[in-house]
């Protein structure tokens, strides 16, 4: 994967030196800049240097800000991570509860209305959701919440909790509907299964049927989707951070793309893709741990 990021950003016939110096650059200054960034070496050499740098933590300097990347990015990573964490902690239980309850009350009022709401919200782009929230809560209708997050440089992300409300809410809204739908479908299937009927016929209390037999089996398949959506959040932060001026990796990436700051783009692409892959991996492990059938096979 690191090779792919590198190839996409570096090996394609575009010249960062040219991009930085502009059209009027003389051949001599271009050559000098290329030598400075090591762009005159062969691709495999460039890749090894870069990969060594990533592994050892020495990421080189950002082209645009001339700051060491680690110094520039580190506080932003923790800020974004905090944002993602809040969104995940909020949306996972919410979507499981809504989905499971809708399955229990299948085709009743709660089910139809929650499915309609989730349908409406599911495909809406984050910036549309975020802007609507801003219009409602921060500017035009009521002014309860700040429209932007303001973090003093160097202060932790939890120092502006009010400012975090809208970004977190936006991320939650873009993830919850889909997960809730999948949870509902999984729960409906489990509730109709033979073993639930068996459990009911054995005279186990309805409460225990739901909590011990139905829910664990429905959460298993849903976990995969949760992971996919958390990973999707890693992409969503790019938009949401931009919208609320949140100083995280997403807005850093958008800036880096605009100024063609390749080392920063490469590194952030790696970080976001790594988050994506890690969450998927965790979900695979989680599925095995949660699903009773798979768990017993492990022993």
């Amino acid at each position: 994967m690191s090779l792919l990021v590198f190839l996409v950003t570096q090996a394609l016939p575009s010249d960062p030196a040219q991009a930085i110096l502009g059209r009027e650059a003389t051949p001599e200054s271009l050559a000098a800049l290329r030598a400075e960034f090591g762009l005159d070496k062969s691709l495999p050499v460039q890749y090894t240097t870069w990969f060594k740098g990533v592994v050892s933590g020495d990421l080189g300097n950002s082209f645009a800000t001339q700051m060491p990347i680690s110094e520039y990015i580190a506080p932003r990573i923790s800020a974004s991570f905090f944002l993602l964490l809040l969104a995940a902690v909020g949306s996972i239980p919410l979507s499981i509860i809504v989905g499971a309850y809708a399955a229990l009350k299948r085709d009743k009022k709660f089910d139809t209305s929650s499915s309609l709401i989730s349908l409406v919200l599911a495909a809406m782009p984050e910036f549309v959701v975020g802007t609507i929230l801003t219009i409602i809560f921060a500017t035009t209708i009521v002014q309860w919440l700040p429209a932007v997050t303001y973090l003093e440089p160097g202060s932790p992300p939890w120092s502006d909790l009010m400012g975090l409300t809208l970004p977190v809410l936006t991320l939650m809204i873009s993830v919850t509907p889909y997960v809730a739908r999948v949870m509902r479908a999984a729960m409906v299937e489990v509730l109709e299964s033979d073993y639930i009927e068996m459990a009911r016929l054995k005279g186990i209390s309805e409460e225990s049927v739901l909590w011990r037999h139905a829910l664990p089996n429905a959460i298993g398949p849903t976990l995969q989707v949760i992971a996919l959506n958390l990973a999707y959040l890693a992409g969503g932060v790019i938009i949401v951070e931009r919208l609320f001026n949140f100083p995280g990796i997403g807005s850093a990436l958008a800036d880096a793309v605009r100024s063609r700051d390749m080392p920063v783009v490469q590194f952030l692409a790696m970080v976001i893709a790594a988050v994506y892959i890690t969450t998927n991996l965790l979900a695979d492990i989680g599925t095995v741990l949660v699903t009773p059938r798979l768990r017993t096979r492990l022993k």
Binding site: M1, L4, V5, V8, T9, L12, S14, S115, L119, V120, A122, A123, M124, P125, E126, F127, V128, T131, I132, T134, I135, T139, T140, A147, R181, R184, A185, V188, E189, L191, E192, A231, Y232, A234, G235, G236, I238, I239, R242, L243, L253, A254, A256, V257, R258, R260, M262, V265, A269, I272, A273, Y276, I277
Partner: protein, 295 residues
């Protein structure tokens, strides 16, 4: 003889597809969805012809609400908000249609081939598509744009590239059970070429999944392209564009909300409309969010 045999499954599938549409149309949500989508697409396509001002024409002082001759006032640059809005949907829609078409073509083909060949080729195709899947869509587009700048062709290609693996997965999933059916073996026994088996026998039997998927991907492509525009990556930074409009006018949201409200409402309604259509279609075709035993 081979012709008669070969055309049969296709005919059945076509009849099924027609009835899918008819049954889908009976649902109220599909009707509402179509009404919303058609209205917005009409605005996006015909808007430029009825706009009172040009898309980059200076009308009056920036961010003024009440300007003679305008309905919603002027935007951050003194342009007519309504005209910018009427101009702003077309490019997003066109890019999205091309990107979806391209994604469906390549993703569909790869998915069908993977389902038909199985084994090593299947593994190779699906694993390499998984590599693309490991990047969030926005990220993939941004990385490519960072190299070449946001040209039209590039936006279409990156969006198509990032939708392709998702389409391939769905189509492969829908095609695998079809491959195991007898008429495929019959077609092979008759000596049909592999290409013919894939495109004339297999393809007509997955059209309903393809249709639902196309609808879904079009919705997401509109969202993705508008999001890129919102981040400031559009082919033409001066042209009107719903995503860009939100970005441009959101600083003055308190004085002049229309420049943000109109495009945001349009995009929201568009995704709602196509979402309703897709939901209606998938309800009648597969009963997607029903339990396994309910139908």
């Amino acid at each position: 003889m081979s012709i008669i045999n070969a055309s049969q499954p296709g005919d059945i599938a076509l009849a099924h597809q027609a009835s899918l549409f008819r049954r889908g149309l009976k649902l109220r949500r599909t009707k509402i969805g179509i009404a919303i989508s058609v209205t917005l697409m009409t605005i996006a396509i015909l808007g430029p012809f009825v706009a009172p001002f040009g898309s980059t024409e200076y009308v009056d002082m920036p961010n003024t609400l009440h300007v003679a001759g305008t309905v919603f006032g002027t935007d951050y640059f003194g342009q007519d908000v309504l005209s910018r809005f009427l101009f702003g949907g077309r490019s997003i829609l066109i890019l999205a249609v091309f990107a979806t078409g391209l994604g469906i073509f390549f993703g569909g083909t790869l998915g069908l081939i993977a389902a038909y060949q199985r084994g090593r080729i299947d593994e190779a195709i699906m694993r390499s598509l998984d590599v693309i899947l490991s990047f969030p869509q926005v990220l993939l587009s941004l990385v490519v744009i960072s190299m070449f700048g946001p040209s039209r062709v590039l936006i279409i290609c990156t969006v198509a590239l990032s939708t392709m693996p998702r389409i391939a997965r769905i189509i492969r999933g829908a095609a695998v059970p079809v491959v195991e059916r007898d008429f495929i073996a019959a077609a092979e026994a008759l000596g049909e070429t592999r290409r013919r088996v894939v495109f004339a026998e297999l393809l007509p039997n997955v059209t309903s999944s393809l249709l639902v998927e196309m609808n879904l991907r079009l919705t997401y492509s509109v969202g993705l392209i508008a999001s890129l525009a919102f981040l400031g990556f559009t082919p033409d930074p001066n042209a009107a564009n719903w995503g860009l409009m939100v970005q441009e006018n959101r600083v003055a949201l308190t004085e002049q909300p229309w420049g943000v409200i109109l495009p945001v409402l349009a995009l929201a309604l568009m995704t709602i409309g196509t979402g309703l259509i897709g939901d209606g279609l998938s309800r009648v075709s597969a009963g997607i969010d029903r339990g396994a035993h309910s139908e």
